[in-house]
């Protein structure tokens, strides 16, 4: 430190209980130090806060018992809010706050506000301690023979290195695959869609005919088998892969498709799962034929093979080839030709 960093010195100030007052710091006495009336006023302020806190806790209990949990009240600025939540939060919040505010006010007004000084000591241990530690270490080294028994040392290191393996290997069954089930990439590459699988409206699960969908129309759809599969599997996995959107545009608007004749009279089906990180997308602008992901704004042009026109997605939106069955209902012509959803290492 330079000379000026401590313009004041404390050498002449006697030490007191481990620290000394800083004589050089200007200390103005507070009103509460000089005026007993002010001190009593401060005392009353603090006590008032504590009393209010007590009252608020009582109010909290009353509100808890007295207010029905479904009551809605109108509070200006806040709108129509839950009365119980509002009252409980207000009572507890203010009640607890006042304890703190009272304690702080007490400290500021009535406890001494003279700053005191304590000396610091270097963090490093005194030399004697370091030497003693060193001596202890040497003794341990010699007595154990760690340096001497090379083979013990090496085998111990080997044993310790292998010891975590059981702990890690037991994590394998986090994924409870039955024996002989397909690999992750095979699972990710397959959905419920297959030739002849009917397309049904998501939420109502009714099949759709081609004429049901006007130009500019959109439906969110799933395979007709889905509910049955979900029932059997007891999870939403199949839905997460098979969800599609079906749109219809003027056939002359279609600039390209992922496969020849994968549309049906201008009706196109695309996966609903974003190829970026997997958000479901149905934000379809029927004028521009753009599909926007609300999560990260990847934009796909559905009139042009579902190619990416903006945003962080690297891959086009997979298209599902569709047609109609004998009764005129929309059906898939096969599964997706490529894995849907986010990329993964083995995807290639």
């Amino acid at each position: 430190m330079s000379d000026h960093s401590s313009p004041e010195s404390h050498e002449n100030v006697p030490a007191k209980l481990g620290y000394s007052p800083v004589a050089d710091i200007e200390h103005k006495p507070r009103l509460t130090d000089t005026d007993p009336k002010a001190a009593r006023r401060a005392e009353r302020q603090v006590a008032t806060m504590f009393v209010l806190s007590i009252l608020l806790v009582i109010a909290f209990v009353v509100a808890y018992i007295g207010i029905d949990k479904s009551t809605i009240v109108y509070i200006p600025l806040f709108g129509e809010v839950g009365a119980l939540n509002f009252a409980l939060g207000l009572c507890m919040g203010l009640g607890v706050f006042l304890i703190g505010a009272g304690a702080i006010q007490w400290a500021k007004k009535l406890m001494p506000d003279t700053e005191v000084v304590a000396q610091r000591h270097e963090m490093a241990s005194p030399e004697a301690a370091t030497e003693e530690a060193e001596a202890n270490y040497q003794r341990g080294k010699t007595e154990s023979g760690f340096a001497q028994y090379k083979i013990i040392r090496r085998t111990l290191i080997g044993a310790l290195a292998l010891f975590p393996i059981p702990l890690v290997i037991m994590l394998r069954d986090l994924w409870s695959t039955p024996a002989g089930s397909p690999s992750p990439d095979a699972i990710l590459s397959k959905t419920l869609w297959k030739k002849g699988e009917r397309i049904v409206v998501d939420g109502t699960y009714v099949p759709v005919k081609a004429e049901d969908l006007p130009v500019g129309g959109l439906i969110s759809a799933v395979p007709a088998d889905l509910l049955e599969v979900e029932e059997a599997e007891g999870n939403l996995n199949a839905r997460g892969k098979a969800a599609i959107i079906v749109i219809r545009m003027d056939p002359s608007d279609i600039r390209s498709q992922q496969g020849d004749g994968w549309d049906y009279q201008g009706i196109l089906a695309f996966s609903k799962i974003c190829t970026h990180v997997g958000c479901p997308i149905a934000l379809y602008e029927q004028r521009t034929h753009h599909l926007l992901c609300p999560c990260h704004q990847s934009t796909f042009d559905l009139a042009d093979s579902g190619n990416v026109v903006f945003g962080p997605a690297a891959r086009r939106m997979p298209q599902l080839p569709i047609g109609v069955d004998a009764e005129g209902y929309l059906v898939a012509m096969s599964d997706f030709a490529e894995p849907i959803g986010p990329s993964f290492w083995e995807r290639g």
Binding site: G79, T204, R287, P294
Partner: protein, 264 residues
Amino acid sequence: MKFLAARRRSPLAAVAMLLIALIGIGAGYAVIANARPAEAAAVASSETQVEQGKRLYLEGCSSCHGMQSQGTSQGPTLVGVGAASVDFQVSSGRMPMAMPGAQAVARDPAQYTDEQIAAMAAYVASLAPGPAIPTEEDVNFENADAAQGGVLFRTNCSQCHQAAGQGGALTQGKYAPSLMQVEPKEIYEAMITGPQSMPVFSNATIPTKDKQAIIKYIDTLQTLPDPGGLALGRLGPVPETVFLWTAVFAALIGVAIWIGIKAR
């Protein structure tokens, strides 16, 4: 007047005067602009509804949608859009637009009277069949299932209009509007006609019963209280973040500063 006199030399006075003048001009223009259709209505009493609609169409719409409603570079064709589309666009104040563009903004009040809108709707419906204006019965959602409507809303609507119906951003500055002020008929018409960027949710895929459920759910959202307190616009974590870093931290750091200040 002393108050004003004392402040007329303030640098803000000029700004205030400018603002007052601008508001005055704007208000005046609005009155005149609204008065016009009313005058026109008086003339039209002897025509048939379709004739009246056609005249209004030629006066107010044809410059963008074309003399034969065939559409121009400024606006799409209206052949086959149906009466529902006209009713939705005009009665919500979206049409006529001040300037052609992808985003039509709802304005209140509408530029035409109900009678005029009905006339234009009749005219456009006469061009080619299209979705009709929903009946009272169609949009009566009293007996609908709000919970099922919620499922359909989250499957078909929330991706653009947001889960709480507060609206959301689309590409290139377009947006899906908030649903907080819309009428049941408007919702129904929007679904069957697919206005602007919105796709069509036809009656064949989302039947009237399901549409009523969706409308009921939107109505529920419109009237939903906020059990947790101040709703922050129901826009999710972003306004929560803003509140955290402004109000909450102002309060906490304010107390921290109070602790640090020496008492007098």
